[in-house]
């Protein structure tokens, strides 16, 4: 127990990096996922095919492999070497966007097709239909699965520990080595993860109630 309090500054530095990874990747993944979902339901066949291929490829590949590609394969093809933080953020975003896209698509599909037909009938374009009619209704049903995706993302940031970043798991390994593998180190690390994921779950509940409506 003392071990945790003595090493709070180190744990806090790891927590900050984990939070940074989760927030940056979360924002990018939501943006990219929204784009992918829009492409998926768009009437343009090449766009929807591209989106489907992307989602299937990334969703069915282990995240660690995505990191390996970013670090060891991409540079061979002349992709410049960024900072470790941004390589990790890009890998996490590319991967998570596939799941965001699927969550959004299921939400879009949950809105009755009559809504889209009515919107088109009054002369709205595809973009207007999506942004002003479909998505506002879809949001209500996608909040819980989206929060699930973001919680999974937070936990997935731990993969970055093997790729040059000293986030919570990296700090845990250092402290573990310095303290003969004292198990309290990992209790401390777990508590810091819960500090991110539990409030995210609570927030999801609040938002869900806010946007809920009686059908």
């Amino acid at each position: 127990m003392d071990l945790i309090s003595e090493n709070l500054p180190a744990l806090f530095a790891g927590f900050r990096l984990t939070l940074q990874l989760a927030v940056y990747s979360g924002v990018l993944a939501l943006a990219l996922g929204l784009l992918l979902a829009a492409m998926r339901v768009s009437p343009l066949r090449p766009l929807s095919l591209f989106s489907a291929a992307y989602v299937e490829l990334l969703r069915n590949t282990p995240l660690t492999l995505v990191f390996f590609f970013m670090y060891f394969v991409a540079p061979q093809f002349g992709v410049p070497a960024f900072s470790f933080l941004w390589v990790a953020v890009i890998a996490l975003s590319l991967y998570t966007a596939a799941f965001v896209s699927e969550a959004l698509r299921s939400g879009i599909n949950s809105v009755g097709v009559g809504q889209a037909e009515a919107a088109r009938a009054i002369g709205l374009t595809f973009g207007q239909t999506l942004s002003q009619v479909i998505l506002p209704q879809a949001v209500r049903s996608v909040i819980p699965p989206l929060i699930n995706v973001l919680i999974a993302l937070t936990k997935n940031t731990s993969v970055a520990a093997g790729f040059g970043l000293v986030e919570l798991i990296g700090v845990g390994r250092r402290l573990s080595t310095a303290n003969a593998g004292d198990p309290w180190v990992w209790v401390g690390v777990a508590v810091f993860y819960l500090l991110i994921t539990i409030p995210a779950g609570l927030l999801a509940g609040v938002v869900e109630r806010k946007v809920a409506f009686a059908r």
Binding site: Y71, F72, P75, F163, G164, G170, T177, A180
Partner: protein, 286 residues
Amino acid sequence: MLAAMTLALTACSGEAEEPEAPADDGMQEGDDPAAADLPEGSTMAELAEAGSIRIGTKFDQPLFGLQGPDGVPEGFDVEIGTIIAGELGIAPEDIEWVETISANRESFIETDQVDLVVATYTINDTRKERISFAGPYYEAGQSILTLASNEDIQGPDDLAGAKVCTVSGSTPEANLLENFPDTEVVPFGAYNECLDPLKNGQVDAISTDNVILAGFAADDDELEVRGEPFTEEPYGIGLAKDDDEFRNWINDVLEEIFEDGRWTEAWESTAGTVLPTPEPPAVDRY
């Protein structure tokens, strides 16, 4: 040959009923004196009776423990493990090699997933709290590897402000953090994963035990080991904590092979192909 085997078999079956007699038989036969000499109930006797042993080693360290195409690791650590198993009367093909990485060696021993760990395993006090060490069987030291074209880093003194790659949770990482506070330590999952970032310029150097770095440098002309080692890393053999009987027995085996040339032979056929042959270290019976 058949007669010897029959004798050995009788010796084995007799052991359970008459503890005294089989040891004598074995000694007179001279077939496998070490295996027959093992005290009843000791870890050595149990392993010899089982006829197999689980040894943890690294699978990714050239010269010490590197997994070959057939899945069996090769290197100096593997040779040492094989010699110890041989002293227990266990044939090389009856050894189960288990991959251990820097971060999981103590727990693999504590949870009885391996009987021994021979894995470039530095003896230190914090580890001694959880497991016991026989040896050392080799003295390594932490050093620096960088690109041959790098002019700025000539040795450990030039590390201030540099980015240095090492393995997350390893002793070299702890050493770097302690000795070079101005160095940015970049941890990866395995030492060979540091090579690409080094060549891509994402890190300036790699730091770990000199023998590991020498293995990388031997395989690649672009890489060079720079400067003198700045730590002493006595490599020991990890085993269950406070199994003193087993520890003393392994220490005896080590002293024997330091003397009779088998240690030198093992070194020269593995790490000795690229590194000079050192004097054997003194066994530390702490």
